[in-house]
């Protein structure tokens, strides 16, 4: 039934749709599960296009407004496509005190990025994130799943060169 509503979208493959359908089926009717569904769907696609949110709201039998409301409230959810590599710079107090701002400026200048944006070649997305709790290593940058501690403005670009 929900399959019939499945819209065409350039970033969502047939395989992704089938995974999404499973996620919805697993959680349908479970109270409070919408955040979990959105998270899992975002993990599958990389972000949450409007068409996908509509599909989820139909599948979960929730108003679109509610699904959009939840997705726009939480920082985890993105409605914009992401680059091949996600750079997260920790903006926690410890990292800030230890000078992460300088590294942020260097990255922005080099790749013409703003916080929350993706470079034109979709190589990098840049996010300034909340405290990652790795304050012992401050200042901290996370690229994809790798945590880089004690970064400085003169080493940060070398680290990023490793991510093509």
């Amino acid at each position: 039934m929900t399959h019939a509503l499945q819209p065409a979208h350039p970033d969502i493959t047939e395989e992704m749709w089938s995974k999404i359908t499973t996620v919805i089926a697993d959680n349908k009717g479970k109270p409070g599960s919408i955040i979990t569904v959105l998270r899992e769907c975002q993990d599958i696609v990389g972000y949450l296009p409007v068409q996908l949110m509509d599909f989820i709201s139909a599948g979960m039998n929730l108003p679109s407004s509610e699904v959009f409301g939840v997705a726009s409230f939480y920082a985890l959810f993105s409605m914009q496509p992401k680059g091949r590599h996600l750079i997260k710079l920790c903006m926690g107090t410890a990292c800030y005190v230890k000078g992460i701002k300088e590294s942020l400026v260097r990255i922005k200048n080099r790749y013409q990025l703003e916080e929350g944006s993706t470079s034109e070649d979709r190589r990098f997305s840049l996010e300034a994130v909340r405290c990652l709790g790795a304050c012992g290593l401050a200042p901290v940058m996370v690229v994809d799943a790798d945590t880089h501690g004690a970064i400085s403005s003169d080493t940060v670009l070398d680290v990023l060169d490793r991510y093509e």
Binding site: T93, Y96, V97, L132, C135, L137, V140
Partner: protein, 615 residues
């Protein structure tokens, strides 16, 4: 696997007694906290395992990946027991020598042992390192000692004994009574007496009640809860069982922030193992008591640390707070009576039930009992997790445990309580760690983030930093918080940019008073604190920014000249070598000069100059 009885717990304790005392063989305890993982502890562990195998030591040596050891800045860490040898900053290349010397010849490898950052002296034993000697681990009693992914290790260290006592020997009112005697106050920030909270929920009528654990540790610079969950997840589960027994609940949720994948992973393992052994879900230890615990992952919203917002979030809604009363003890999650406690609070509960409330209350001050865990970070030599008795002066934390300020700089302030807290200035560094004393000094205890700031920190910029955080995280439900924090941020940005006016200071204070008194939840009510505390203690810095258009700490880019002070320049050329845009002219034995057209104002030269010669 067979479900355990109370007798089985005793059997496991007996079987594992030598193992947790480290007397039956050599133990290599390698730290597997988030910090050490990031510095490569897994590779070190694998190399160690290979080398131990290759040398045929498999029988004699056991390698355990522990949770966070607490001394995060020194990772990857390894403690060898017995002997308590503390190795720091290990790399894969060090392993053959370490195995040969330490594990085969029983000779510690001096060059890899801990060195005091000030005296440079080698300190071999973990217990002799000043960072550890001044601490009193209670909530962190198992940190770095057990494998958090093996429930038997936890049981061997008296684990689930308190739960058994609560289920078989104590009535709910007796549990509440012990909690009240202990004087334990909520460790999440507000410091509400835990026993009282449980009593309200216990007396609240209803068949369905919930126990919630707040692991949405959002304060920037705080990582106590993450470390506890990574190092000793069962302590939290056991605390929740006891709480559930006290209020007659059979369903619990742990709300973990999404930024903590390792904590979620270890909690999941802990819940699975506890369930397999009959320590969770139905008929716990054969007592007939049930408790089902589920992990709920947050999605990145600071306000969800507020109790009513957290409950809304579990219900799958936008995490916005609601007015209280009704308090959650009467109407909480899904409108049912609910208690919500912080991770550290729960981690203290088993010890209190096992040893009695009086034991817990034997340390601390008049109004603040027991110990408190702090996440010490920022401009301090020893960064990491610190648990001290209440009443300990901040000076002990910063200087004795923290080892003082690096680069021979001076202390300016200690920031406590995150965005809801404030800065305690250097002249008040003898303030004891006590809920009331800290409030009097203009901060709050908060969840335990303690960020040390040296003289190179601009306090106006810090106020701007926290206000940026608060206004961004304001959920927008009530106007004073939504609009007020934004206005405060705009004013602070203006001051940092050099266009502040003298009247701005009054406006900042007026706004603070309104936001504080008219906001709905704790986020707004405490949001202006960083501004107020910096105004109180660092008025001279605000004045310098506004009147002289100067940033004394040289952090606010718009107020810097990017010129070399020719008198202070030692002609060393460090700035020249570091400049990424070749904007600095320098020749040997000559003063450096910055070419303004090429300068991209990246501040690298300020960082590199050791003589403060760039303005």
């Amino acid at each position: 696997m067979a479900k355990l009885s109370v007798d089985d717990l005793a059997t496991i304790r007996q079987q594992r007694a030598e193992s947790v005392a480290f007397t039956d063989r050599t133990y290599c305890l390698i730290c597997g906290g988030t910090g050490c993982h990031a510095t490569g502890s897994i590779a070190v562990k694998d190399a160690l395992a290979r080398e131990v195998d290759a040398k045929g030591l498999g029988e004699k040596v056991k390698i355990i990946e522990t949770g966070c050891n607490g001394f995060c800045a020194m990772g990857p860490l390894l403690v060898v027991q017995p002997g308590d040898f503390f190795y720091e900053k290990l790399s894969v290349d060090d392993i053959p020598e370490l195995v040969e010397q330490q594990l085969i010849n029983n000779q510690p490898v001096e060059r890899l042992l801990y060195k005091d950052p000030v005296s440079k002296k080698v300190i071999a034993s973990q217990n002799d390192i000043p960072f550890f000697t001044h601490q009193m681990p209670r909530a962190l009693r198992n940190k770095g000692r057990i494998d958090p992914e093996d429930i038997h290790d936890y049981i061997a260290r008296d684990g689930y004994l308190a739960a058994a006592k609560a289920l078989f020997e104590l009535q709910p009112e007796e549990i509440v009574e012990q909690m009240k005697i202990s004087g334990l106050r909520g460790r999440g920030g507000a410091g509400f007496p835990t026993g009282l909270k449980w009593e309200f929920a216990k007396n609240s009528p209803g068949d369905v009640k919930y126990v919630l654990c707040n692991a949405d540790e959002g304060d920037p610079g705080a990582f106590m809860d993450r470390s506890i969950l990574e190092a000793d997840p069962h302590a939290v589960l056991e605390g929740m069982i006891i709480a559930a027994r006290a209020i007659h609940s059979s369903k619990g949720y742990i709300y973990v922030r999404t930024e903590y994948p390792l904590a979620v992973h270890r909690l999941g393992i802990a819940i699975r193992q506890a369930t397999e052994l009959g320590l969770l879900e139905d008929d716990i230890l054969g007592s007939g008591f049930n408790l089902h615990i589920e992990i709920y992952q947050g999605a990145g919203a600071f306000v969800c640390g507020e109790e009513t917002a957290l409950m809304r979030s579990i219900e799958g809604k936008r995490g916005m707070p609601r007015p209280r009363p009704p308090f959650p003890a009467h109407k909480g999650l899904w409108e049912k009576p609910t208690i919500l406690n912080n991770v550290e609070t729960y981690a203290n509960v088993p010890q209190i039930i096992l040893n009695g409330g009086d034991w817990y209350a034997s340390v601390g001050t008049e109004t603040s009992k027991g110990t408190k865990v702090f996440a010490l970070s920022g401009d301090v030599n020893n960064i990491g997790l610190v648990e001290v008795p209440m009443g300990t002066p901040l000076r002990t934390i910063v200087y004795d445990i923290g080892g003082g300020i690096p680069k021979k700089r001076k202390l300016k302030a200690v920031q406590l309580g995150g965005p809801s807290g404030g800065c305690i200035p250097a002249q008040l560094v003898d303030t004891p760690v006590d809920f009331e004393a800290i409030v009097k000094a203009g901060a709050i205890m908060g969840s335990g983030g303690a960020i040390v700031m040296d003289e190179k920190t601009c306090m106006v910029d810090m106020a701007r930093f926290f206000m940026d955080f608060v206004q961004d995280e304001s959920c927008g439900k009530c106007t004073p918080c939504r609009e007020g924090t934004r206005r405060q941020l705009q004013i602070l940005e203006r001051i940092c940019a050099g266009s502040g006016e003298p009247s701005d200071l009054d406006t900042l204070e007026d706004l603070a008073v309104v936001i504080r008194s008219a906001s709905l939840c704790g986020l707004g009510q405490t949001g202006p604190n960083p501004v107020l505390s910096t105004l109180r203690y660092f008025m001279d810095e605000y004045q310098a920014h506004i009147v002289e258009k100067r940033c004394p700490a040289k952090r606010c880019v718009a107020l810097l000249k990017f010129e070399v002070n020719t008198d202070a320049c030692t002609k060393c050329g460090a700035c020249f070598r570091a400049c990424p845009s070749e904007a600095i002219e320098w020749k040997k034995k000559e003063v450096a000069r910055i070419e303004k057209e090429k300068c991209i104002q990246c501040m690298t030269c300020f960082e590199k100059c050791k003589f403060d010669a760039i303005d």
